[in-house]
C-alpha cells in the first residue's frame, strides 16, 4: 500500500476538485496544480499520486485517455466521470465536517 503523505488522505479530494475545474490533465499537471494552488504548501508525491489516480480510475470516479503530445510521446489525460462528481461532493462535505470539527476543538482548547 502507498505510504500516507503530507496530504493525510485529502489527495483524492484535491485530485477530484482539480479535475472538476479543469478536465483533461495528465499526472504531472495535476501534481503541479496542487503545488501552485496551495502556494507550494501542499505537495503530492509521485509515489502516491499515480497509484491514487489508478485506484480512482478503477473505482470509476475518473477516466483516462491517451493523447499524443507535441513531442510525439503519449500522455494519459484524466477527467471526472459522473460517479466522480458525486464522490467529489461527498468528499467535500466530509472534509467540511472534519475541518469544522477540528476547528471547534482548537477553539475550545
Amino acid at each position: 500500500m502507498p505510504k500516507p503523505d503530507s496530504l493525510q488522505g485529502s489527495l483524492d479530494l484535491l485530485v477530484l476538485k482539480i479535475l472538476s475545474r479543469r478536465p483533461g490533465l495528465h499526472g504531472y499537471a495535476i501534481m503541479s496544480a496542487i503545488q501552485n494552488m496551495s502556494d507550494e504548501v501542499l505537495r503530492a508525491e509521485e509515489g502516491s499520486l499515480y497509484p491514487a489516480l489508478h485506484r480512482m480510475e478503477e473505482a470509476g470516479w475518473i477516466r483516462a485517455k491517451w493523447i499524443t503530445k507535441d513531442t510525439g510521446r503519449r500522455a494519459r489525460m484524466y477527467e471526472l466521470t459522473v460517479a466522480g462528481k458525486k464522490q467529489l461532493a461527498a468528499e467535500e462535505s466530509r472534509w467540511e465536517a472534519v475541518t469544522s470539527a477540528v476547528n471547534r476543538v482548537l477553539r475550545m482548547a
Binding site: M1, P2, H26, G27, Y28, A29, S32, E45, E46, G47, Y50, P51, H54, R55, E57, E58, A59, G60, K69, T71, R73, R74, A75, R76
Partner: protein
C-alpha cells in the same frame, strides 16, 4: 466495469505494465521540461519496479494475477519434465477416465431417477418367500387378476401400475416376408398419466385404453424408435402393424427422454396390458407392479393393504393344491409383500449387475488411488529437488499460503489435464462396456447422457484427486525452513518415509486388484470349461414361427427337407435351444408317490434330437414319431437319481402334477445343461413335441441343424430361405449358433474378467513405475553415502541390499495388508464367483508372485545404478 477490467488486466498483464511505465516516463519528461533536474525527477519516483507494482496492484485482481503467474510457472515446470509429466497425466487420466466411466454406468443402471414427475414417490412391489429348495427368494412378477384386486384396495393412497418385461418381438408393417424386430412392453394405460409424461406426437394411453381384455389394439412408440424407424415422420399416426395375431394402430409417440422402465433395455413400442394374453389368467406371472404413492401417503399402510389382498388370494389358491406337503403349503402362504423405492426403474440388469458394477467401481477407484500415489511420490521427489527454490522464495518474503498455492496450482494443472483426457476415455469406454453387457444379438441399450451429474462427478473427482496427491507435498514444500534448506536440508529421511508409506499403500491396492481380478478370471475359466453334456460344435439353432399353428408332422417334414441340403449333417426339433434361458418346469410324482420337493425341467423334442445334440443314450430307446405328450418321456441321470433313487427308470412312470399328465419313461440319457451353467444339473425330462389329440399343432419351434461347416453361420442365409420353401407357413425369426448361446451364459463373467484383467495390468504397471521412481530417487539422494560406503569397501551385494531393503519391507507390508483387505472384501462379491474360493492357494499365489516379479523388475535399474556408482567421481563432485 471495475472488476471486469481488473480481470481483463490480469490477462493483458504485459501491456498494462508497459502503459504504466509509459505514463511515468511521460511524467518525468514533463518534469524535465519544467526545468527539474532529470536525476532528481527520476529519484522522486523511487524504485520504478515498486512504482509499477503499486500501480499494477490497483488495476488488477491481485489473487487472480498471482494465480495466473502460478499457472504459467506450473505449466513451465510440467513442460520442463515432459516425460514424467506425461506419464503422470496419462496414468491419472486412465484412473479418472475409468472412474468416470464406471460412474456413468452405475448411474445409468442403478442410480439415475427415471425422467418422470416426482420419481421419489415411485415404489415397486416385491414378494419375498421360501422357494421349494428352502432358499429365501424375492420376486417381482405378479398375476393380473390379483393386481386388479390390489389396485382397488389401495386406490385412495396409491396408484398401481403394471409393466411387463421389455421383450423383442416380431412385427411387420407390410407383408409377412418383411418381419422386423422391436422391443415391446405392455403397460397399464394410466401409466403415462401417473408419470405425467407428455406425448411428442399424437396422444398417449389413458385409463380408457386399458379396460377390456383384447379390445384395445393401439400402440405408442418411443421417441427413439420413431426416430430410428420412421425418421420422425409425423405421418406415422394411424399406421398399423401386425404383431402376433393382432393388428395394432399407432396413436402417439412418447416424450423423448422416457425410454421405458427398465434400465438396460429401451422400449420401442408400448402396448396396453389388456392386449397381453395373461390378463385373464390367475396363474400367469408376467409383469412388475409399480406403486405410485399419492401425495402424503406412506408406503407402510399401502404395503399392509397389499399384503391383506395377497393373503386372501393365496388362501383361495391353496385350496386347489391337493397332496402338497405341509411345509410347502406353509412356504406358499407365508410370503411377505414388500414395497420399496424404485425411482430409477426396475430391471433384471440392475439385479444382475449391481454387485458386479460395484466391484468394478471399487477396482477402478483403487487404480486411481495407485495413480494418485504415484503422482504424490513424484511431487514429493520434486519438492525435495526444489527445496532450495522454496527456501529462496521464503527468504525473499513469500508467504506460506503463497507457496501452497504455487504447488497446488501445479497439481491442479496435472489434475485438469488428466481429467480432460480421462473424459475422452470415459466418453469412449462407457458405450464400449455397455456393448458387451449383453450378447451381441440382443445388446443392452442404455441412455448415457453427459449432463450435470457427469460433470459434477468429474469435477469433484478432479478436485479430490488434486488434493489427494497435491496437498501433502504442497504443505511440506511450504513448511520449508530457509536456513536449513539452504544449508542442504535437515532430515533427508522424512520425505522417504512418506514415499515408503505410499509405496506400501500402492502395493496393498495393487494386490487387492490382482486378487479380485484373479478370482474373476478363474470364475470365467471354470465356467467356460464347464462340461455342458452336449456338443455345440457346428450347431445352428433356427427359431421358427408358423403363421398358423401347424401339425407336428409338417414340422418333422420340414426337418427332413433341411436334412437333405448340402452341408447339413443332421436336423432335429425342440421347443427352444438348450441354455437359451427359457425353461418349463413342474413338480413330479414318481411311482404313485406324493410329488417330490425338487422341480423337474421339461423340454419338448423331436425324435433324433439326442443324436443331433450328441447326448448319449444310456438305456432304453429314443423317442419315435408316434410318441406323444403326455405319454412318453426320456429322463436324465439327475432325474433318475432324484425320483428313482438312481435306479434304472426305464419302463417306470411318473406324473407331472400340473394337469396330472402321465408319462412312461422309455429311455435314460446322460446329464446335459438345460437352463444355465452355474446351477447344478437339474432333473430333466425330454418329452415329445407332438401333443396327444386329434387337433394337435405347433405355432413355433427351433430347428437344430448340425452342419459339416467349420463356421455354421455360412449356411444361415440358405437355411433361412429353405425353411419357408419346405412349408410356406414357416418363417425363421432368429438364427444363432449354439456356441453363441452358450457364451451368452457367461457374458457377465467374460466382461468382468476382461475389465478386471485390464485394470490389473494397469495397476501392476503403475505400481511398478511408482516403485521404480521411489527407488531411483532414493539412490540419487543417497549416492554420496553409497560412494563413501563403496570407498571403504562395501560389496555390491550389500549396496543392493541397502537401497532395496526398506522398499521391499514396504512391499511386504503392503502385500499383507492387501491380502487382508482382499479376504475381507471377497465375501461381498462371493455371489459373482463360480467354483473359486478366495482362500484357494493359486488365487493367492498369483497376485503375490506377480507383485514380487514386478517389484524385482522395478528395483533392477535402481540397483544397477547404485552398484555402478563410481566412488571417486561421486566424492569429488561438489
Amino acid at each position: 466495469m471495475s472488476l471486469w477490467s481488473r480481470i481483463v488486466n490480469v490477462i493483458r498483464g504485459d501491456r498494462l505494465s508497459r502503459e504504466i511505465d509509459e505514463e511515468l516516463e511521460s511524467h518525468i519528461e514533463e518534469a524535465i521540461k519544467q526545468g527539474r533536474d532529470p536525476g532528481e525527477a527520476r529519484r522522486a519516483f523511487g524504485s520504478p519496479m515498486r512504482q509499477r507494482e503499486a500501480s499494477r496492484d490497483m488495476r488488477v485482481v491481485a489473487w487472480l494475477d498471482s494465480l495466473r503467474a502460478d499457472v504459467i510457472f506450473g505449466w513451465r515446470q510440467l513442460k520442463k519434465k515432459k516425460v514424467t509429466s506425461a506419464a503422470a497425466i496419462l496414468s491419472l487420466a486412465l484412473g479418472i477416465g475409468a472412474c468416470t466411466s464406471a460412474f456413468r454406468l452405475i448411474d445409468a443402471i442403478l442410480l439415475r431417477p427415471m425422467p418422470i414427475a416426482e420419481p421419489d414417490r415411485l415404489y415397486a412391489m416385491f414378494c419375498r418367500g421360501m422357494d421349494p429348495a428352502g432358499n429365501l427368494r424375492t420376486t417381482d412378477s405378479n398375476e393380473y387378476p390379483q393386481f386388479r384386486l390390489m389396485r382397488a384396495a389401495v386406490k385412495d393412497q396409491a396408484e398401481l401400475i403394471a409393466v411387463s418385461g421389455t421383450e423383442r418381438a416380431d412385427l411387420t408393417y407390410g407383408s409377412d416376408q418383411d418381419m422386423e424386430k422391436a422391443y415391446r412392453q405392455y403397460v397399464s394405460g394410466w401409466m403415462f398419466g401417473a408419470f405425467r409424461l407428455k406425448p411428442a406426437l399424437g396422444r398417449l394411453f389413458t385409463e380408457n385404453d386399458d379396460l377390456k381384455p383384447h379390445s384395445h389394439p393401439f400402440a405408442v412408440l418411443s421417441y427413439d424408435y420413431w426416430t430410428r424407424r420412421f425418421g420422425r415422420d409425423p405421418g406415422v399416426l394411424g399406421r398399423t402393424f401386425h404383431l402376433g395375431n393382432d393388428v395394432y394402430q399407432i396413436v402417439g409417440v412418447a416424450t423423448e427422454r422416457f425410454t421405458g422402465t427398465e434400465p438396460g433395455t429401451m422400449t420401442d413400442i408400448f402396448l396396453p396390458t389388456m392386449m397381453h394374453g395373461g390378463v385373464t389368467h390367475d396363474d400367469w406371472s408376467w409383469f412388475r407392479t409399480f406403486v405410485r404413492l399419492k401425495p402424503g401417503a406412506m408406503p407402510q399402510p399401502v404395503r399392509d393393504k397389499l399384503q391383506a389382498v395377497f393373503q386372501s388370494v393365496q388362501g383361495e389358491r391353496v385350496k386347489g393344491f391337493v397332496g402338497w406337503p405341509k411345509r410347502r403349503l406353509d412356504n406358499f402362504l407365508n410370503q411377505t409383500i414388500l414395497v420399496e423405492p424404485a425411482a430409477s426403474g426396475l430391471s433384471a440388469m440392475q439385479k444382475e449387475y449391481r454387485r458386479a458394477l460395484t466391484a468394478l467401481g471399487v477396482l477402478v477407484t483403487l487404480v486411481l488411488l495407485i495413480a494418485c500415489a504415484n503422482v504424490a511420490n513424484l511431487m514429493t521427489a520434486q519438492a525435495a529437488a526444489r527445496a532450495r527454490e522454496m527456501a529462496l522464495r521464503v527468504s525473499i518474503g513469500a508467504g506460506r499460503w503463497r507457496l501452497v498455492q504455487l504447488v497446488l496450482v501445479e497439481s491442479a494443472l496435472l489434475a485438469f489435464l488428466a481429467t480432460s483426457i480421462g473424459g475422452l476415455f470415459a466418453w469412449w469406454s462407457a458405450p464400449f462396456v455397455v456393448a458387451r453387457i449383453n450378447p451381441p444379438n440382443n445388446p443392452a441399450r442404455l441412455a448415457l447422457p453427459a449432463d450435470w451429474r457427469m460433470l459434477g462427478f468429474a469435477l469433484a473427482l478432479t478436485i479430490g484427486v488434486m488434493l489427494l496427491f497435491g496437498l501433502v507435498p504442497a504443505l511440506r514444500a511450504s513448511a520449508v525452513k530457509p536456513a536449513s534448506a539452504l544449508k542442504g536440508g535437515e532430515d533427508p529421511h522424512s520425505r522417504r518415509r512418506l514415499m515408503h508409506a505410499l509405496i506400501a499403500a500402492q502395493v496393498a491396492f495393487c494386490f487387492l486388484v490382482l486378487f479380485v481380478a484373479g478370482l474373476f478370471v478363474a470364475t470365467f475359466d471354470r465356467l467356460s470349461n464347464q462340461p455342458t453334456g452336449f456338443s455345440a460344435e457346428r450347431l445352428l439353432t433356427l427359431e421358427t414361427v408358423a403363421r398358423r399353428a401347424q401339425p407336428t408332422v409338417f414340422w418333422y417334414q420340414a426337418a427332413e427337407h433341411l436334412r437333405a441340403l448340402p452341408g447339413v449333417e443332421s436336423v432335429a426339433l425342440a421347443s427352444w435351444p438348450l441354455l437359451s434361458g427359457i425353461g418349463a418346469n413342474g413338480f413330479v410324482a414318481a411311482n404313485g408317490a406324493p410329488p417330490g420337493q425338487v422341480l423337474a425341467y421339461f423340454l419338448n423334442v423331436s425324435p433324433g434330437w439326442l443324436d443331433t445334440m450328441k447326448i448319449p443314450l444310456i438305456a432304453g430307446r429314443d423317442l419315435r414319431p408316434s410318441d406323444t405328450y403326455p405319454g412318453t418321456a426320456l429322463v436324465n441321470e439327475a432325474f433318475a437319481k432324484e425320483y428313482f433313487d438312481g435306479e434304472n427308470p426305464v419302463g417306470k412312470s411318473f406324473e407331472r402334477t400340473s394337469g396330472r399328465r402321465h408319462f412312461e419313461i422309455v429311455g435314460l440319457v446322460r446329464d446335459a445343461r438345460y437352463r444355465n451353467m452355474r446351477e447344478p444339473i437339474t432333473p430333466t425330462a425330454y418329452v415329445p413335441l407332438r401333443l396327444d389329440g386329434p387337433d394337435e399343432a405347433l405355432g413355433s419351434g427351433t430347428f437344430l441343424v448340425r452342419t459339416s461347416r467349420e463356421n455354421p453361420l455360412t449356411l444361415a442365409p440358405m437355411l433361412r430361405q429353405e425353411v419357408p420353401r419346405a412349408r410356406s407357413e414357416f418363417r425363421v425369426s432368429n438364427i444363432r449358433t449354439q456356441k453363441e448361446i452358450n457364451e451368452a451364459q457367461m457374458v457377465r463373467e467374460r466382461l468382468l474378467s476382461m475389465l478386471a484383467l485390464f485394470f490389473a495390468v494397469v495397476a501392476v504397471v503403475l505400481a511398478g513405475v511408482g516403485l521404480y521412481g521411489v527407488l531411483d530417487y532414493s539412490v540419487l539422494q543417497r549416492r554420496r553415502e553409497i560412494g563413501i560406503r563403496m570407498a571403504i569397501g562395501a560389496q555390491a551385494g550389500s549396496i543392493a541390499g541397502l537401497v532395496t531393503v526398506d522398499v521391499f519391507s514396504m512391499v511386504l507390508v503392503g502385500a499383507v495388508a492387501g491380502l487382508a483387505l482382499g479376504m475381507a472384501s471377497a465375501r461381498y462379491i462371493e455371489s459373482l464367483f463360480y467354483q473359486v474360493k478366495p482362500t484357494d492357494w493359486n488365487v493367492l499365489m498369483l497376485p503375490a508372485l506377480t507383485i514380487l516379479v514386478a517389484a524385482l523388475l522395478a528395483a533392477l535399474p535402481a540397483v544397477v545404478h547404485a552398484v555402478r556408482i563410481d566412488p571417486v567421481k561421486m566424492l569429488r563432485a561438489d
